[in-house]
């Protein structure tokens, strides 16, 4: 058997971690760029190979039509669900999409679990390169508020990668586990988790028993479409509007320029977490530079609606746990978006206590997943997670109403039995519609599955079929039926309302092997080439700038020689050589970058290397 890892499959970034046997502490594994964050971006090369992570993120600017980010927003959803997302995100949905969304990358079509599988495979490669051993099993985290279809889609992504998913763990629960290991916390803990695209709040009770520590989730709530992305969207819309007013340039909200603006604004947002003011300098195609001075106060006012939207779920989770804000012994902040000072302040004021931020908010979920993975693997337990189902499970009854059979916040696994009979003589089928959600009418809840119970012909009311609905420890529904008169077990073919069936997964797994066969070195070459493309383009652009006239002849010759050397290395397959030449060119263009930095046109380049422009 191979190694086991914990994976945080995030909206913006994904991470892989393992439990270091020497220290007994979980640790994140860095990728080829040295960072533990793998941007959740996937790009399909014209030659058919797939690029994931940092290299793909750069392609958002150069090949947006072949590149996708934030695919987590599409997991487990149908085309009708995502109309709002389409206004804000550059998803290219294939018109053939029926129950399952299909996304276009270049001329190929993929489902969201397939795209997520590319990210999982990348992380597995990172881990395998780190261990020098195969990795075949994983614990993957999901937002606590993910519904059945979203969880199933995540599990499918694991299957497509060929990974055995031992458990789906809720992100805030994983974070609590990581903090518990780190700080030996006890008592009642609130975990406020605002990620790139999802928001969760979980209320836990940490109990020490003679057997070990128990992490019992009392309640959870959230919004699977609320996160840092929404803050970026607000910023982008705000600046887009300003540019329209002042400079009368309109640009497509999803094009390259919009991506560049988004990137610049994310930098501004990050700067405002550290300082009170930050300046956006954005060079536009008409040669002008759009300049806007942001203050933290103005940013706060802009993002206040996002922060306010998190507080409804927070209050509901506390009410469901029958607790008050001041009952909490600890408050933990998770997710990159919680670096925002307004969010920290709001949470602190609400709970009346300083929140924990000791662990890196980007890494803490992956660390918890690694700890859980190790527990499951060893079978020797020092702790136990008792999690809950975030949404009530119901079945449709007369008149389109919903009868709740497993209430939200039930500890999982949880089950409910329902007895069914026939209404007319010789009726051979009973239709059952399973739903998830809190609303009273079926049309307002999430449809999970429809199926027909087969019944042998008999007088009305005589058949007695017991249907068992079970939510397993991953938060995923299983259905079984028993004929109480004969004792026969019925096998039920449950067709999920929004999902892919097993044979499709099988096919996707086969197809993914084609992609997986590129070995590590090959991918390194692709990434190095991508990087050299962008640095070569940036150098050509910079040399065309009038400021470059100030370069000495010697400097210019050195740059040109480095460019030629890099070009030559790119035609080969030695990624180490390409990287070396990239470094040399970076070095040769240092003065050029400085010159540009002093010019008005390049104000937006401040503090960055030429290659990153």
């Amino acid at each position: 058997m191979g190694r086991i890892v914990g994976i945080d499959l995030g909206t913006t970034n994904s991470l892989v971690a393992y439990l270091d046997p020497r220290t007994g502490q979980p640790k994140c594994i860095p990728g080829p760029y040295g960072s533990t964050l793998c941007p959740s971006v996937v790009s399909l090369d014209p030659d058919g190979s797939v690029v994931v992570g940092e290299a793909a993120r750069r392609r958002l600017l150069t090949q947006p039509e072949r590149t996708i980010y934030s695919v987590k927003r599409l997991m487990g959803r149908g085309p009708a669900d995502i109309q709002d997302e389409l206004k804000l995100f550059p998803f290219r949905i294939d018109p053939s999409s029926k129950n399952v969304i299909r996304v276009k990358l270049g001329d190929k079509v993929f489902t969201p679990p397939e795209i997520s599988a590319f990210i999982l495979r990348e992380l597995r490669n990172w881990a395998e390169a780190h261990f020098g051993e195969t990795v075949d099993r994983a614990v993957i985290t999901v937002p606590a508020y993910f519904n059945d279809a979203q969880r199933q889609a995540t599990k499918d992504a694991g299957k497509i990668t060929g990974l055995e998913v031992l458990r789906l763990v809720n992100e805030p629960t994983a974070a609590a586990l990581a903090y518990g290991l780190h700080e030996k916390q006890r008592g009642k803990v609130a975990v406020y988790d605002l990620g790139g695209g999802t928001f969760d709040i979980s209320i836990l009770k940490l109990i020490s028993t003679s057997d070990g520590d128990i992490y019992q989730v009392l309640s959870t709530n959230g919004d699977t479409h609320l996160g840092g992305d929404d803050i970026d969207n607000l910023l982008q819309a705000f600046v887009h509007e300003k540019i329209l007013q002042h400079d009368e340039i309109d640009f497509s909200p999803h094009g390259e320029l919009a991506q560049e603006l988004r990137k610049a604004l994310i930098d501004v947002k990050h700067q405002l977490s550290e300082s009170e003011t930050a300046t956006l300098r954005f060079p536009m195609p008409n040669g002008k530079v759009f300049v806007h001075e942001f203050t933290r106060g103005a940013l706060d006012a802009l993002i206040r609606p996002v922060v306010d939207r998190t507080m409804g779920p927070v209050k509901q989770a506390l009410a469901d746990a029958h607790l008050n804000p001041t009952d909490m012994d600890e408050v933990v902040l998770v997710g990159g978006a919680t670096r925002t000072p307004l969010i920290r302040r709001t949470v602190q004021e609400f709970f009346g206590r300083q929140p924990h931020i000791e662990l890196n908010p980007d890494e803490v979920v992956a660390l918890g997943a690694a700890a859980q993975a190790s527990i499951l693997d060893q079978g020797v337990k020092t702790m136990l997670l008792l999690d809950v189902t975030p949404l009530s499970l119901g079945i449709e009854t007369y008149g389109g109403a919903v009868a709740k059979i497993i209430p939200r916040n039930s500890t999982i696994p949880a089950s409910a039995q329902e007895l069914y009979t026939t209404g007319v003589d010789n009726q051979t089928g009973i239709d059952i519609h399973v739903l998830q959600g809190e609303r009273e009418l079926a049309k307002d809840c999430r449809s999970l599955a429809r199926f027909t119970l087969r019944v042998p012909p008999a007088p009305a009311g005589l058949p007695r079929i017991e249907v068992k609905f079970l939510i397993d420890a991953n938060g995923i529904l299983q259905v079984g039926a028993k004929d109480l008169r004969t004792g026969d077990q019925h096998s039920i073919e449950v067709q999920p309302s929004y999902g892919i069936n097993d044979s499709e997964i099988e096919r996707m797994l086969e197809e993914s092997i084609e992609y997986a066969e590129q070995d590590f070195a090959e991918r390194q070459v692709i990434e190095a080439r991508t990087e050299s493309e962008s640095i070569l383009a940036a150098t050509a652009k910079a040399l065309a700038n009038p400021q470059s006239a100030a370069l000495s002849a010697e400097e210019r010759a050195k740059i040109e020689a480095s460019v030629a050397a890099l070009r030559e290395s790119v035609s080969g397959n030695d990624y180490k050589l390409i990287r070396k030449r990239i470094d040399e060119l970076n070095h040769a263009t240092e003065h050029l970058a400085e010159l540009l930095m002093n010019s008005a046109v390049s104000t937006a380049l401040e503090g960055r290397k030429l290659a990153e422009v």
Partner: protein, 200 residues
């Protein structure tokens, strides 16, 4: 879809009280129940059986879900009474009478009138403030009644515990009383929920 009529026969084969080794009494010491729940979770949870045979995994899933179902049911004082009456064969699952208890008839009638007026005022734009305050005081009144029913339910629960070894006629009498109180409780709760919905 063609709707699925639910059979009225009970099929509960698992005794939630027995899972915790408890007699079918309605008074349960919550701290003890929690301790037992945690101890048993530690043994039965599927996390312990990830590398076990499929058979063992299935059994763990079944037993741990039953444990969780049992804890969820018994922890809730009202759910506990409903469950008890269910396994004793007195109460059908999901049963709640929609008839108003006779002594509440007049107040319920008034309440429904006020609700109709409020709905009408909402569509035609009449004076909402006065109606709302009338409904708010009615809600408070019914909340108090709910408190009374809960107190009565508690008294009846003690009677049940005392009658645990008594003859079946006595036990049936207490169960009938508990059942009637549950019906009244769910009726009033429904009323309150309806008022709250309109006041939102």
């Amino acid at each position: 879809m063609s709707t699925a009529p639910k059979s009225t026969t009970q099929s509960k084969t698992i005794d939630y009280f027995a899972i915790f080794g408890l007699p079918r009494k309605l008074w349960i010491e919550m701290g003890e129940l929690e301790q037992k729940f945690l101890q048993m979770s530690w043994k039965l949870h599927p996390d312990n059986f990830v590398n076990a045979s499929e058979e063992e995994r299935d059994l763990s899933l079944k037993r741990s879900s039953e444990l969780n179902d049992a804890y969820r049911t018994l922890r809730d004082p009202v759910g506990r009474v409903e469950y008890l009456l269910g396994i004793e064969g007195v109460r059908k699952e999901g049963e709640h009478k929609q008839q108003a208890p006779p002594e509440l008839l007049e107040e319920v009638f008034e309440l429904n009138e006020s609700l109709d007026e409020l709905r009408e005022a909402k569509t035609s734009g009449g004076d909402l403030a006065a109606l709302k305050s009338r409904l708010e005081s009615a809600e408070k009144n019914f909340q108090e009644k709910l408190g009374e029913v809960d107190a009565q339910l508690q008294t009846a629960a003690h009677e049940w515990d005392a009658a645990l070894q008594a003859d079946s006629a006595t036990r049936k009498k207490v169960m009938a009383k508990l059942n009637e109180l549950l019906n009244r409780r769910s009726y009033i709760k429904n009323l309150v929920a309806n008022v709250q919905k309109e006041l939102l």
